[in-house]
Symmetry: D2
Subunit: 224 residues, 4 copies
């Protein structure tokens, strides 16, 4: 079981159904056993690159919405990891498949993609850091869980690079750091007993909606 903090564990449990649909989606299982068509994977990767542009912007918004130096540092580190590392992974795999950086950046954004990032950004703009983190964590942590599971369960080498990225110590460390940020940000704003706060249900709802948008994102990946 992943260990990404207390708030994440509670929110995941409150969104059990969508969480399973997301982390065990056909697309994911297709990476596990190597049956996922290459065209679907590259289509997904291009959309995910566009996703990461806006997701990085959302993490930059977390810097803006920070109230302490420590909150700022974790959010800045995450922006750096996304812009400098994760986006590079996509550029590398795509270039190896003959898709140039220019083509990648110009990928037309699908509605399922746009829905997700705009939801996250708007949650952040309209709310405070907690609303934003509730919308950001399903992506960060879900990929962490999927990476860990597929690293041990994968029966094919086809998508090993992708799997290793998210199973890596670097990525798992980022998940833990985000989990700590979330727990501390919650404690600072609504107290240690998160679930007793009147805000808890709404935050869980934001987490659940983001999780459902992840499901739609994988589904889009299957329909290039």
């Amino acid at each position: 079981m992943s260990n990404y903090g207390k708030a994440f564990a509670l929110m995941r449990d409150a969104a059990q159904g969508p969480w399973r649909d997301y982390t065990r989606h056909t697309f994911v299982e297709g990476m596990k056993d190597g049956t996922l068509p290459r065209a679907a994977f590259l289509h997904y990767l291009r959309q995910d690159y566009v996703f990461l542009i806006h997701f990085s912007r959302a993490w930059a918004l977390a810097v803006v919405k920070s109230e302490t130096h420590s909150e700022m540092l974790t959010a800045v580190a995450t922006v750096n990891a996304l812009v400098a590392e994760e986006m590079q992974l996509h550029i590398g795999i795509c270039e190896a498949a003959g898709i140039s950086h220019e083509e990648l950046f110009a990928t037309p954004e699908r509605a399922e993609n746009l829905a997700y990032t705009r939801f996250v950004l708007e949650a952040g703009y309209s709310g405070d850091l907690l609303d934003l983190l509730a919308a950001l964590t399903p992506c960060v942590m879900g990929y962490g869980e999927i990476g860990t599971r597929l690293a041990s369960e994968a029966t094919s080498e086809v998508y090993r690079d992708w799997i290793n990225t998210y199973a890596s110590d670097d990525y798992q460390g980022a998940c833990k750091a985000v989990g700590e940020l979330f727990d501390q940000a919650l404690t600072r704003r609504i107290g240690e007993d998160f679930a007793a706060s009147p805000r808890w249900d709404r935050l869980c709802q934001t987490f659940r909606t983001a999780t459902e948008l992840e499901v739609n994102f994988w589904q889009m990946g299957l329909t290039p």
Copy 2:
């Protein structure tokens, strides 16, 4: 032909395909000839009520983003019209159909609905008044065009109330006011020759994306 200002006419022409798909959608034609199932209409209306909550918030954001007294006044008037009048229409029709205001407010938001309003709000938060207006106008003006056309073409009385709302002098006046606001806001920020500005293509793209999200919204209406 509608007369909602110069910028709108140019942007609509640049998004011709999606604009036709939006304003002549099966859902719309079903209101015209009365063949649209009542369940689909009520489902749409409930989603549209949730839509209007966020759309009103987006118009309030236009007040925040205003640079002149005149921009503020038009945006404030639109918020009032939405909150005080258009939302009342939905409450009224729904109550007549046995759906209480509480049920209406608690309608679970569909992904196609959420995608649209978050796109509009994020465009406004991240950009200036022009980016926001480019995302707001397809809904305002499209309903104006549909209302006018169906008022003369409708062959059934079933959806006459809905049609009359958007064909009314009040609503048509609002469309003209928004058209003037848009033209003046553009002139103030990028000059009278809109289409010559380097920003024009991006603004047209925002308008086009919002139009495509309207198509998805009608489509959702057909699948309760």
Copy 3:
């Protein structure tokens, strides 16, 4: 004693010193006994007009940041009251003094003025509705208290119009509505026992800072 709700009373008590400096400022006492120079008053009124433009934008942001229909309605009503009524008072008095609407709108904004409204707007953009309301209430409620007190204590008729505006049933009703909005918004987000929430101190600090910026605003009024 004013009766503008529970949260306001608590926050005012926590900012006792600045609150006294604000509501009993030399400028205010000069309106009470009529010794305030006319030039200072007109200078203040012009700055206050510019202030109200941005303050109305901040209340429109409260609409954007609302989570319930009831929150939206109170915020919309306040925007209307500010834009349609309070700003008209300024336009009227200034016109009677030979200052045109154009001159009024073009008033160069003083640093003490700018500091205040940008602080309020930024608190709202970066935080949620509670952070925004904590920054908005000192102005709304303070003028309500000053109006009520001066209505009974004034020994001169010179500034009676100004006093009557803020002592009026309309304005006092608005203060009560804002007080209820604040109490309900707090209850919804951090529970009924406001002061027990970890956010309370920061919200009180925002209220206190806004109060200090009110003191600076009056001080500016004395130095045309």
Copy 4:
């Protein structure tokens, strides 16, 4: 003469008076000849640390408001430089003077300080990247000009560390990068002939106001 790009040169010329007051302020001249009292310097440094927290947040907002990968990269690099380097300088000098990091972070924010950062953040939130950059550049570039001038004109070693930071190749390189970002962001949004755009005057006004707020900041530095 500094070489921080075309837009900066034009805006500085349009704000000549305030620019001179800012870059040749008594505080600055006191660092040049070493007559600035140590207490004033440390007081300024503590306020500047609080300033940098919010200024870093404003640069993070520039990441959020970016429309291209290149805009994002420059803005991310600037956030990193501010958070990782410039703030460290302050921590180091203050610690050497017996002021702990905790004390530093807890410095009560002066009104002149708050006015400036909230103005910058609000300009960014309400406008697009151009409005934000017009508010951000006076600080970045002004310190660059002051550093360069004092490096050659200083007649005392007392404030050599501070001077060297801003005269350094690193800092000067950052100024050039920001200058290029600004020129390219302007070209992308309002065309190469900046000054011909209807937005130019307003952008220059934002730059001028930020410059005036820099003058007030130095002035505050003289009054611990």
